[in-house]
Symmetry: C2
């Protein structure tokens, strides 16, 4: 039998897999083809002398023709935020490329945020040539962008892996500092598999001389695509069925089960299946803070966002009446768990579905059964397939209706007749601004706490850094989301509840203090023709901090900007691509929101600067601050 040659594998319809009949390709090309093969169609970053040789392969015919796009950002932190946004929208791996030290360190906070919130980001760092760290002639040399040793740096060479050592096992699930070109392709693939598997960031440090070196194209040909589903380990069928049995038996014996849709459901791409399960079973369902929009909040048994004692009373009353809680994609931290105030009905049963375990807790007997190493994805899929809805015996209080924006009960909302725009007013009018299928990015800040209790229209995708809470993240993240929406048009829409000809809007709720952190990326949003509606809540400073301490302190003040003038400076010289409006009164806000909501023309950027009171913040933030403070003092 003739040996199988690499050409045999080549698929002419996938140019990024074609290797021009060559069995070897430059490593730089390998990296970019691999990115294409995992669905990453755009790459963010900033050029620097250590990554230029790699960036050159963006223009290699097999890469360029396959549609890999370079999105240069104004700085590296913004590239990290954008890559994060790209992944949050597309559920692909967001990728950024930076340079040694000066670039990668600037991006670090963005990576840490992705890590904390389980976002799939690949950070490729161009480092010094391999000879610089290995050859005796060079390794004693202090290179630019590379910090010298703490002591004796004039006599002792630098640690080339110093930045690698910082991130490894701290803010990345997988890190490879490439040192051997022979194994480089495998290392790249391994980092990618880990990112998918753990849904956390990974790093690849690429020496500047590696990009031009030849590598075998085998891996690309043998594994032409890698998806997240490929990277999940499936349990043996016997075990899987055993788990399903246990889940269904608990469900069938429950009278008031609840489904809690948490963030990892989104990160593992199974929100749709969870929603199908909800539609089919009509089980009461709740979202979490970080899992907001995992569940279609327009479903008839949606009961609101549960956040322990920090959430709305009407919501926790309902949640705590449930005798079984199916918690999908569970992620436990103080924000997502109302400062650890989750409370269950006495004797309730709880099932936690996580990428690394399935856990059964029977509070009546204090029993606990843990299936370690089992990813919840196949479990959820199988559960949906095998559940017999007829055997459910739901007996919810029939007086309880589903949670909607109309039934939202927040004290402050009752008598707001103010002639200025207040957070209470926003909480009333903003939910109606959103259309089914829209994509909303929300900045960390006071308004974010309001959004928690919105009941979103169907198919709305909500993106917010709910736990790591790095202000300034949302604006560049919106760039990444917009790019992903260009690469994966309507990827978030499933089902027929959104009109076919509706072009989903990308809406960014932004704070003024936060916006100042990363404002330059408006310019890249403009450059990339990302149609965006950006609403800047201008409350003259860090109101979220004022809520906590120093309400009138100067450290919470920021410089007043003329927000409506920014686009003119940032590249829209004649105002053809943007429209900026200052809004000070509820009436004007209403008019503008209506106009945007119903506009047929969605090809330009709309910026609204909305003036708010300096000390006005939503009721939910007050509750959180109080709860957090209370919990601490108690010990």
């Amino acid at each position: 039998m003739a040996p199988v040659t690499i050409e045999k594998y080549v698929n002419q319809n996938e140019p990024h897999l074609v290797s021009n009949q060559l069995a070897t390709i430059p490593f730089g090309e390998y990296i970019f083809r691999r990115l294409l093969s995992i669905g990453t169609k755009s790459v963010f970053g900033v050029p620097g002398d250590f990554n230029l040789s790699l960036l050159e392969y963006l223009y290699s015919p097999n890469v360029e023709s396959a549609g890999l796009r370079w999105v240069g950002t104004c700085n590296e932190l913004n590239a990290a935020y954008a890559a994060d946004g790209y992944s949050r929208y597309s559920n692909k791996i967001g990728c950024l490329i930076t340079t040694y030290g000066v670039g990668e360190l600037s991006a670090l906070n963005g990576i840490a945020g992705s890590f904390a919130e389980n976002v799939k980001v690949l950070h490729i760092v161009g480092v010094a040539k391999s000879i610089d760290s290995r050859s005796n002639n060079f390794k004693e040399r202090n290179l630019h962008h590379l910090v010298p040793q703490v002591h004796n740096s004039n006599f002792k060479g630098p640690n080339h892996k110093v930045y690698h050592d910082m991130v490894k096992d701290r803010v990345a699930c997988s890190v490879a500092y490439l040192e051997d070109i022979e194994t480089a392709c495998v290392q790249v693939d391994n980092v990618i598999r880990d990112i998918f598997k753990y849904s956390k960031p990974g790093y690849i440090f690429v020496p500047a001389d590696f990009a031009d070196m030849s590598v075998a194209a085998d891996n690309l040909v043998k594994v032409p695509h890698i998806s997240q589903q490929d990277c999940i380990t499936y349990p043996p069928e016997v075990q899987l069925l055993d788990i399903i049995d246990k889940i269904t038996s608990w469900m069938y014996s429950s009278k008031t089960p609840a489904i809690l849709g948490d963030v990892l459901t989104d990160r593992y791409g199974v929100s749709n299946i969870l929603n199908e399960l909800i539609y089919t079973t009509k089980i009461w369902n709740f979202s979490t803070v970080m899992g907001k929009s995992v569940i279609d909040e327009s479903n008839p048994t949606y009961m609101g966002q549960y956040n322990g004692k920090e959430g709305l009373k009407q919501v926790y009353k309902h949640f705590e009446s449930c005798d079984l809680v199916l918690h999908f994609g569970v992620d436990i931290n103080e924000i997502n768990n109302g400062h650890y105030t989750f409370t269950y009905k006495p004797n309730a049963k709880i099932i936690q579905f996580h990428p690394e375990y399935i856990r059964f807790v029977d509070t009546k007997y204090g029993d606990e059964q843990m299936f370690e190493g089992v990813n919840f994805v196949p479990v959820l899929k199988e559960l949906y397939k095998l559940i017999d809805v007829a055997r459910l015996s739901l007996q919810y209080d029939s007086n309880v209706t589903s949670y909607t924006n109309e039934t939202m009960q927040i004290e402050d909302l009752t008598d707001d007749q103010s002639s200025i725009i207040t957070q209470a007013h926003l909480q009333k009018v903003m939910p109606g601004f959103l259309n089914p299928g829209d994509v909303v990015v929300c900045e960390t800040g006071s308004f974010q706490f309001s959004v928690r209790d919105f009941a979103f229209p169907t198919q709305l995708k909500y993106i917010s850094q709910g736990f790591f809470l790095s202000i300034g993240m949302a604006l560049p993240a919106a760039l990444g989301v917009g790019i992903a929406m260009q690469d994966y048009s309507n990827a978030h829409i499933n089902g027929s509840n959104v009109k076919e000809d509706y072009k989903p809007r990308l809406i960014l709720f932004e704070g003024d203090g936060a916006a100042q952190m990363t404002i330059q990326e408006l310019s890249t949003i403009l450059k990339c023709n990302v149609p965006l509606e950006i609403i800047i809540w201008n409350n003259n400073g860090y109101t979220i901090e004022r809520a906590i301490m120093g309400p009138t302190r100067s450290y919470n003040d920021i410089m007043s900007w003329k927000w409506t003038k920014l686009f003119e400076a940032f590249g829209d010289f004649d105002g053809k691509h943007t429209s900026s409006t200052l809004i000070e009164f509820p009436s004007k806000l209403a008019l503008k929101l209506k106009e945007l909501k119903n506009s047929a023309r969605r090809n330009q950027i709309e910026l609204l600067e909305v003036k708010l009171g300096v000390l006005d913040f939503p009721e939910q933030l007050k509750c959180m601050v109080e709860a957090a403070a209370l919990k601490r003092n108690k010990k």
Copy 2:
């Protein structure tokens, strides 16, 4: 004898030392008083919930009345850059305050740059309450801003010291994560002493609950001031004299000695003494890339900037004719050493003066003598005191004249008659723009390479990140420099060569690509009334990268901005505080430069946008790129 009470030490003229007759003060107050006591009068940063309790003490009467100023920046990276600039100008410790994770990580690249370039920066990070990391009830909780564990984070508490572990022994000379209030003051003082001693950044991680805790004020009273000189260890007199003997004997027997003024001379505050030594001895002297402006370049025996084979030929010819090189404040890295091409006259002797050693090298015999642990500061001081100028026997080539802008020989400069503005043109006209006593901040980028060969007027202070080369650093650094100039008016001016009534200008040379990285800090410059002349070289992208690779590649492109519109958006709504001018032709540039140079009115911000060719870069950058590439390929 009555016991000495704390009140006895109190000096009524120094409110920051007065403790209102109390022997204890809140720890937050201690920190700020300690900062005042070391000469840090302004603090940069961004508020965050973990540092608010500390920031509250900015307003404590004893702190506020003593003049400690909070300079809120738009983001944390910019705060780090500003603190760096503050220290580079004042030679005090620049301080920034950030919050756990989201804040401190954003600042990290700035800190790494300070570390690489020996700048004294204190980074205070507000972290979670001490109870959160210690109490069994809390330490298992995932807190916002704090990355969870890589695995099992739902069951395993976070590592509260994860960020501490990243920076320790990597980008800081001293790091204290405070855990015990009893020792906290001593730890603060120790970090400060280390920063002064090693001239590198230090970190203090302050739990949010520590700010309000009472501490003894003793340390402040017993040690009311700490200066860098206090933190340097002095060698025993016998050893010191031994070293001086050896230096002077080498000097007396040399015919063509050279003084090389390097960067650490500046960082240890002894540039003046070195200049006095030069004035007195008339020894030929050279600057280094990083040591630029350490030496008064108007002195009659200044011979230019020496950078091995990457510098001007006329300069290295002179340097390499010297039989003795006294290298003060030596810092060895590829940039400062022309990619390791420093070359000495055959049989030359070399003396290296460093904060941690004095090293004698006799190349004739291959002899080397090293005095480890001896700081060069007392050695230089003593040398200046003890040298007998009469015993020098200088025999330089009498045909050689000192290095001036007129004698600069660069090929490109000879026939520039272009009607557009070129780098060659700038190299001719920009030196004349500078006045004695001005302060110049220069961004990393192509123009920076030009400046290397300027002969500066006397008393000019030059600030540039010459080795770490993080683009975007200079603009926020200029904020820090401007604040330091407000706190320490004319601190850089010594001697009578600058007119008494001359108000030194602060000039920033900035690139367009770099400026986009950190542009928002223009707004803080405006807020703080820092009069600044900012010249933006607009060459449509990353020209320094184009010089290396991808001259026409899209990855080197940036968005076109209308630079002259920025201040209107950033807070100067009616144009009263700023003036922005677009300059496209040499004639207009000449006019504007003349106007600025001679202006009597220096209370506003002047922004010049100067259009340059996309592919035009100075001869020096070409040489560097070629030299760097050559050296690598050779092995």
